[in-house]
Amino acid sequence: MKTIMKWCALVLLSATTVAMAQEPVRLVSSVQKVETFVNEQGEQERRLVAAERVVPGEELRYTVTFANQGSETVDAGSIVITNPVPNNTIYLEDSAGGSGTDVVFSVDGGELWGTPEELVITGENGQPRVAQAEEYTHIRWTFRPALETGEESSVFFRVRLR
């Protein structure tokens, strides 16, 4: 039995090493809650708070940061980040962005991609119509510049919890 454990440990250790070697870009997803509050001037303002005490109807902002922690430059235009619209949430129109990125969406689980005007689905009456933001299933960003060693950038989008 001890032999098997050691063998397993060896496999796991080597897997870890391989994984480390394959991750020159560090990709981190984080979420915050968008809270509306009334400031001292009595005006409504929005702020980002920790995603705690989230109940249906509330707005969330997801951020995906990517950093080149390897020793080589990542090719310009090669970074494509794909994020599904999280379960039980709906994507909020025009909320996806990120500096130096082009954004496209999918309404079919990531098969076909397009800008909001290009995404057409068949409506209830059988006629094609432009898809609503709440029908998006995936978001995809293409980062145009190269990412030099040590550089970091991020993309973001907002959703509402159903």
């Binding site: 897997a15 870890t16 989230v54 995906v64 090669s78 970074i79 494509v80």
Partner: protein, 504 residues
């Protein structure tokens, strides 16, 4: 109310895993596995933060060969290890597959379920489970199991009933306790060589919103004095996103009204058996005792409650009586909450609960309106014509009651009040045995319009009847019937009926 969550069959350990851990492609599983190993390794080497507690556990078991499938925990190990063991066995207790879990104190018999053969390791990988309040309660359950069982038996003897929803208005947003997870994927190239990577899986649990709606289903109920069990229907809806228990309270003494409707002892209300409240719903089988019974409603679940009240006999037309029916969340702390207050750890599955309404409750008012109606009839002789004089009797111009004189009677009918007189008809019997008087045929005039005596569509009929009772019992009479039909007293209605008799 979180205790309901852990008896739900679907609530398994797997549910609390990030979705991605179940669905990710194989390379990701390798990657996760690799990370797990790295983490365990760092724990053993005491590199990872907040791992001291866990490290003690891992080391203890590692030394004892716990991770070997055939080993078993032995008495006399450290207290820390004991506590972790309890948490680990929750996997079994959770599914209620085994009730043999007893005290884990040193020296006593421990459960044989601890090493879940080779999979024992994998059930322990998620440290987050150790902070799950559900598990803490399960541990307590085992420790004080007998006490809890005794307590629950006690509550059964109180015969408190729980009423569940009979209909639903649909989901109220994402169910409390649902895990919302996100994982991004990146594809890129270095020197033309394609690489693919996943981000961490970001996860949070949806908290519970406590919100209830009570809506009276009838703007007002028209009643008459002394009526009993007049029903006001109320619809109770759980507008929260979690399973929630509510208490119901009847408040008959609200202000601003003229009388207080009275309810049976314990302020009994009833569950409707259909889509509306029927008198047959006021039955023991439908009874809800507001003092002891509770509602337990799924998100969006509704139940129709029939509240029957008695109307005091002293109430008069136009008076109103109010009462409130209130539903209060039974979740601990909700009764003292303000809108937006957070109740930590008491939501479904141990998530936090956010209270939407003041005191976690809602109420609506039932209104009873007394709608009595008065019908008065005043009979008078307005003219006597004796062939010499014609006018009001006993005046200089009035005729005398001599044989052959024609006497004109008038009935003034008044219908007054907010209520409605159903099928109002005025009946006058004229003695018809050849003595005293004789009815003058077709002399009935209603509101200035002459009427025939025939029994027809016309509102007047004159028939030959021998009444069994009354002043003319057993004597033949001419019965004058004027049928006004259903007549509302608002506004006040007046009718004028005249007819003629000949003095014999």
């Amino acid at each position: 109310m979180w205790p309901l969550a852990w008896v739900r069959p679907s609530d398994s350990i797997e549910d609390s895993l990030p979705t991605a851990a179940r669905q990710v492609p194989r390379p990701v599983i390798f990657s996760l596995f690799a990370r797990l190993f790295a983490y365990l390794k760092s724990v053993v080497e005491a590199r990872a933060p907040a791992a001291i507690f866990f490290r003690a556990w891992v080391l203890t078991y590692w030394k004892q060969g716990f991770f070997s499938p055939i080993s078993r925990p032995t008495p006399g190990r450290s207290r820390t290890a004991q506590r972790q063991t309890v948490a680990a066995t929750d996997v079994d207790a959770h599914a209620f597959g085994r009730t043999s879990v007893r005290s884990q104190e040193p020296g006593k018999r421990s459960s044989d379920r601890l090493p879940v053969s080779g999979s024992g390791f994998s059930t322990r990988w998620d440290l987050g489970h150790f902070q799950n309040p559900r598990r803490t309660v399960m541990s307590r359950f085992k420790r004080f199991g007998l006490v809890l069982i005794a307590a629950s038996l006690g509550s059964i003897s109180a015969q408190a009933a729980t009423f569940t929803e009979t209909d639903t208005v649909g989901p109220q947003g994402t169910q409390a306790g649902t895990s919302i997870s996100n994982q991004a994927r990146a594809e890129f190239a270095i020197n033309g060589n394609p690489v693919s990577e996943f981000s961490n899986t970001e996860e949070f649990l949806v908290d519970e919103r406590i919100q209830v709606d009570v809506t009276v289903q009838q703007a007002s109920v028209q009643v008459q004095p002394s009526q009993t069990q007049r029903i006001q229907p109320f619809l109770i809806t759980n507008l929260g996103n979690g399973q929630e228990t509510f208490d119901l309270t009847v408040l008959p003494n609200v202000g601003g009204d003229d009388f207080d409707p009275t309810f049976a002892a314990n302020n009994l209300v009833y569950r409707a058996s259909g889509a509306s409240c029927a008198p047959s719903d006021i039955a023991v089988s439908q009874q809800f005792n507001t003092g002891t019974d509770q509602l337990d409603l799924a998100p969006g679940g509704t139940i129709l409650i029939c509240a029957p009240a008695d109307i005091p006999g002293a109430a008069v037309d136009g008076e109103v009586g109010f009462f409130d029916l209130r539903a209060d969340s039974a979740t601990a702390g909700a009764s003292a909450a303000s809108p937006g207050d957070v109740l930590a750890g008491v939501g479904d599955g141990g998530v936090d609960a956010v209270v939407v309404q003041n005191f976690g409750r809602d109420s609506d008012q039932g209104v009873y309106v007394v709608s009595a109606v008065d019908v008065t009839v005043v009979k008078s002789i307005i003219e006597v014509d004796d062939g010499f004089r014609s006018g009001v009797p006993n005046t200089p111009t009035g005729g005398r009651f001599i044989p052959g004189a024609i006497v004109t009677y008038q009935l003034d009918v008044e219908v007054d009040g907010t209520g409605t007189a159903q099928n109002l008809s005025i009946v006058d019997d004229i003695r018809d045995d050849g003595t005293d008087v004789l009815y003058v045929g077709s002399s009935v005039v209603v509101n200035g319009t002459g009427r025939t005596d025939l029994v027809d569509a016309d509102i007047v009929s004159v028939t030959d009847v021998t009444p069994a009772t009354g002043p003319f019992a057993g004597l033949p009479v001419k019965r004058i019937t004027v049928n006004f039909g259903t007549t509302s007293g608002a506004p006040t209605v007046n009718h004028e009926i005249t007819f003629q008799l000949e003095v014999q």
